[in-house]
């Protein structure tokens, strides 16, 4: 949020990411997440949303990616050179795209791995109960191998596992992917509650712009490795470009009529 609070919790400043020393994936991305805020990162496939999240959590290194320019500050500290475990210890946890639960561990063991970097045994137990209260479905399945629970439950497990690290900032990568609309709403609701009740700041990367913009306060739109547009969620919802390209609407609240598509194609203004 440009110029809102004095020091945001997370400040990504003009970063450039290169994979394998040659492939330029992010070309100067800047964004901010305020303490306790909830912010969306929107964009199509391949826009650079996941890479941006991985640059923050530094999961890039195992994919041979590297932040070559720019800075990432978390709570005032530069973290772009810290390794992934150190970033988690400082309070940033990424919930990766595609759920990525440990399939051969039980649901409860999965949750406990989330607390791996913590040394406070008693409150881990309390947090486990808290996760079960947010996700009652997981409680019923605690001793089942995570590979055998449903897709929605795996997504809940992935979020719950991230929460077990007691982060100040959670990076959620496409939590709606491959899930039924009802489940998506359930998961978005719980994300909103974690943000509100547990004061966890959220940076949510989503292709489902309509759902995400209902949830967040502020949004950034990415395309081809750049942030092309940002603003309050309500403003983005009303923006003609966002409506056309991400929400599938033309007039205010109107569904797009495909009869018109042939005659009228809106140009993306940010490209001109």
């Amino acid at each position: 949020m440009k110029g809102s609070s004095p020091t945001p919790l997370l400040k990504v400043n003009n970063i450039e990411v290169i994979y394998d020393h040659v492939i330029l994936v992010l070309k100067g991305v800047s964004l901010e997440v305020p303490e306790g805020g909830i912010v969306a990162l929107l964009g199509a496939n391949g826009a650079g949303k996941s890479t941006t999240l991985k640059a923050i959590s530094n999961l890039l290194r195992v994919e041979r990616g590297e932040v070559t320019k720019g800075t990432i500050e978390f709570a005032g500290e530069r973290i772009e050179r810290k390794d992934a475990a150190a970033v988690v210890q400082r309070g940033v946890v990424q919930v990766m795209e595609g759920r990525r639960v440990f399939e051969h561990l039980t649901v409860e063991e999965n949750l406990l791995t989330g607390a791996y970097s913590r040394r406070d045994g008693r409150s881990v137990k309390q947090d486990l109960d808290r996760v079960y209260s947010y996700f009652p479905k997981l409680a019923a399945r605690r001793s089942i191998k995570a590979g055998y629970v449903s897709g929605g439950e795996q997504q809940m497990l992935a979020i719950g596992r991230g929460f077990m690290a007691r982060p100040r900032l959670m990076l959620l990568d496409e939590p709606s992917m491959g899930l039924a609309p009802m489940l998506v709403r359930e998961i978005f609701d719980i994300v909103a509650r974690l943000n509100r009740e547990e004061k966890v700041a959220i940076l949510l990367a989503e292709q489902n712009a309509a759902g995400a913009l209902r949830l967040v306060q502020y949004g950034y739109v990415m395309e081809s490795g750049r942030v092309v547009l940002d603003g309050e969620a309500s403003k983005l919802r009303d923006n003609e470009d966002v409506k056309e390209f991400y929400l599938g609407l033309t007039g205010v609240g109107q569904r797009k009529s495909y009869r018109d598509v042939k005659h009228y194609r809106r140009r993306k203004r940010w490209l001109s």
Partner: protein, 296 residues
Amino acid sequence: MSGDLLFGVELAVSGLLVGVMYSLVALGFVLIFKSSGIFNFAQGAMTLFAALALVGFLPRLGMGVSILAVLAVMVALAFAVERVVLRPLVARPPLALFMATIGLGFFLEGLAQAIWGTQPKGLDIGIPDTPYVVGGLLLSRLDLAGAAAAGVLVLGLIVFFQKTTLGLGLRAVSDDHEAALSVGIPLGRAWAVTWAIAGVVAVVAGVLWGSRLGVQFSLSLVALKALPVLIIGGIESIPGAILAGLIVGAAERLAGGFIDPLVGGGVKDFSPYLLAMIFLIFRPYGLFGREIIERV
């Protein structure tokens, strides 16, 4: 007939006891494959290295201190391997890592022999090689001690992996190492710890095999015996390595005792590999190989 039966039982029991020692070598492979997906070609060399180091320390330090010293050396070696070999190769194709372990194997064999010499040496661990007689069966004390040591080690490993936080972290790493990284499990340290455990296993295997065969270069070839064990048990399963080791040991002895006299010998040596081929055809994941969970 009852003579035959007694002979058979004796063969089977001694086979099982030797089998435990095969399991031990296989275990080193399983641990590293589980946690990092690498087939560690250097496991045999690590066994040789551990045994040579022990023989090298013995005259000066005595048995107890020597074993501790060798354990320390193997742990240090594991951390060095993680730093020098594994870390630069992160996110490279598995074949690159496999090749690196081949290189590491030759390096360790060479280094061990450069430091402690190439002469075969005896290793006396203070257990006389006279058999116990139990109900008409002859049981080698050395085999019994080996089986007991292996059993304790395996129990310890199971408790470690199932009951401790570090063990949980290592199991998570073996499932999905990127996801493990995302929840804050330090990958480098997890790999180093795994290699250290494999190093400890190599020490136990080196002591037991060294006391039986003498400490010499061929000790690193004992690793070849682990291959059928891995195929039969499943390359990712600790219980699989144990059970398959027993099967291989017993099959080898029984084939040697009953089939070899009929065909003029040789079956003993290839029977484990024959068994492994049968498993590859009918059960390629082995007895306890990791089930591939597919949700539809």
